[in-house]
Amino acid sequence: MGKKIEIDDRFKKFGTVSFTAITKTNDFIDHLEQGKVVGTRCKECGMHFFPPRADCFRCLESHMEWFEVAGNGKLVTYSKLEYGPVGFEKDLPYRIALLDYGDYKVFGRIDDAVPDDALSMGMKMKTRVNRLADGQLNYVFQPA
């Protein structure tokens, strides 16, 4: 009794507003700090998971290893938001998008530096770590 419990709430650093603080995939944040966007792969069956997860429903095991989201994905679709939820007002307008890497897909933002007219459906894009002004971390898509 009286011993202070250490709470690992690293995940609160994810995105403009994080709605989750505690997860078994908290090391995702450390990888972002090191400039890497990572998913998990089940050591038993080899299935890729993005977004990362701690547990494999196929094997009913939790033996995961991290893999880096590397190379290029194809732009599946996107939307430019003119309105946002509370906490995202300063980001507006911004674009959310989905990239297809073949074995997995990645949902995220398109880099604000990329103009609208540089976007085309199916174009090759890469995923890069992005540090926000207040120290929060996310990732963005840029033309490959």
């Binding site: 995105g15 679709t77 939307s79 003119e82």
Partner: protein, 388 residues
């Protein structure tokens, strides 16, 4: 085991700000369904209450409603699948009756979206999807459906004008619906005028006119065993087919972006159970929370081949006089979308159509009708087929 029927349907007016509490709101839909069925509270063996709980201040509304509506000591409980909650409630009521556990079950859907302040509502909107991996990017419902719209446009040549056609159709009938929240006319010119509110940007390629409005409202469906239905009702409508499905909440876990797999899957189940095909449907209510959602529904339900939904609306085949009338009550786009009440309102419209009691929007002599009700961004799908 016999068939399962619907013997009463009701809804409240759908309004921006209901001037009463949630139990009073629920009473409105319930009262109308009970009067429609011409039964009393003693005839109801159980109640199922449906809503999206994030808009409720009241914890566990089922108990509060059962007391207020005079449904004690019968069992009551709550079911939730976002915007398809009351279709899921109907599915549950079907199974309760079919199993023989109960003879008559009331499915009560409601939502008082104005129960919370608009800033609270804005905050909840940000948590409408995968809060761990997607919401931190600033996602909103219109933006997700917009991503489907862009994919559909790129794959099939669907245009923003096609989507505007759907809103214009909706408003044509919304003007006739006294229970709808939006009853003004909508024209193509409004979409073409960049200064018009309808053309205002929300989440590209969707515009203000492509989106339905929040509303407060309630609905109620009274479900009964075949024996009870025949004893209590002059015009029972039978539940012929039920389908339900789910998919990955995170878009990264999905493979189709030009349609909703949950609708395809639920439709397949419902058609198989009813032993019919899409061409047998005489009138349909589909979940048009956004214009693109109605267009995809045409294809996912088999009214049009993939990519040909645009042709159906261009040729006006989904108008009241067309080959397959869709949302001739104004749909969610005109009626408004009080989440938990929406499915019940759709079912009510089809039941009235099949009974020949739909008034100004009556389709000519329909025998089989379909309800397509989607929860979240294609996260949950329910398809219900009803017949005379």
């Amino acid at each position: 085991m016999g068939k399962v029927g619907i013997i009463g349907v009701g809804q409240s007016a759908f309004v921006r700000q209901y001037p009463g509490s949630i139990r009073e709101l629920a009473f409105e839909g319930f009262k109308n369904a009970m009067k429609d069925a011409q039964i009393t509270v003693k005839d109801v063996d159980a109640s199922v209450v449906c809503s999206a709980p994030e808009y409720d201040k009241q914890r566990s509304p089922a108990g509060v409603f059962a007391e207020y509506l005079g449904l004690n000591p019968q069992p009551t409980f709550y079911v939730e699948s976002l915007c398809s909650s009351s279709s899921m409630g109907l599915r549950l009521a079907y199974s309760l009756v079919k199993s023989g556990l109960h003879d008559v079950v009331a499915v009560i859907g409601f939502q008082k979206m104005s129960e919370i302040s608009s800033s609270e509502s804005q905050e909840r909107m940000g948590r409408g999807a995968d809060i761990q991996w997607e919401s931190p990017f600033g996602t909103m419902m219109p933006a997700y459906y917009a991503m489907y719209a862009r994919a559909h446009m790129a794959a099939y040549g669907t245009t923003p004008e096609d989507l505007a056609r759907i809103r214009v159709k909706s408003a044509t009938y919304g003007q006739l619906n006294e229970l709808a929240v939006y009853r003004k006319p909508v024209t193509f010119e409004m979409f073409a005028d960049p200064n018009d509110r309808m053309a205002g940007p929300v989440a590209s390629p969707l515009r203000v006119g492509d989106c339905c409005a929040n509303a407060d409202g309630s609905s109620c469906i009274i479900v009964a065993s075949e024996e009870k239905a025949r004893a209590l009702s002059q015009k029972p409508v039978w539940i012929l087919g039920l389908g339900a499905a789910s998919t990955s909440v995170n878009l990264a876990g999905r493979n189709l972006f030009t349609g909703l797999t949950v609708a395809q899957e639920a439709a397949k189940q419902a058609y198989a159970m009813a032993g019919i095909e899409p061409k047998d449907i005489d009138v349909a209510e589909v979940h048009d929370c956004f214009t693109i959602a109605e267009l995809m529904a045409y294809e996912n339900l088999g009214f049009a081949a993939p990519g040909e939904g645009k042709d159906l609306i261009r040729s006006k085949e989904t108008y009241k006089e067309g080959r397959i009338p869709v949302n001739v009550d104004g749909g969610l786009l005109s009626k408004g979308h009080p989440i938990g009440a929406t499915g019940g309102s759709q079912i009510r419209t089809i039941v009235l159509q099949l009974r020949g009691e739909a008034g100004a929007i009556q389709v000519k002599d329909p025998e089989i009708g379909l309800v397509h009700n989607i929860g979240g961004v294609g996260l949950y799908g329910n398809v219900t087929i009803l017949g005379r």
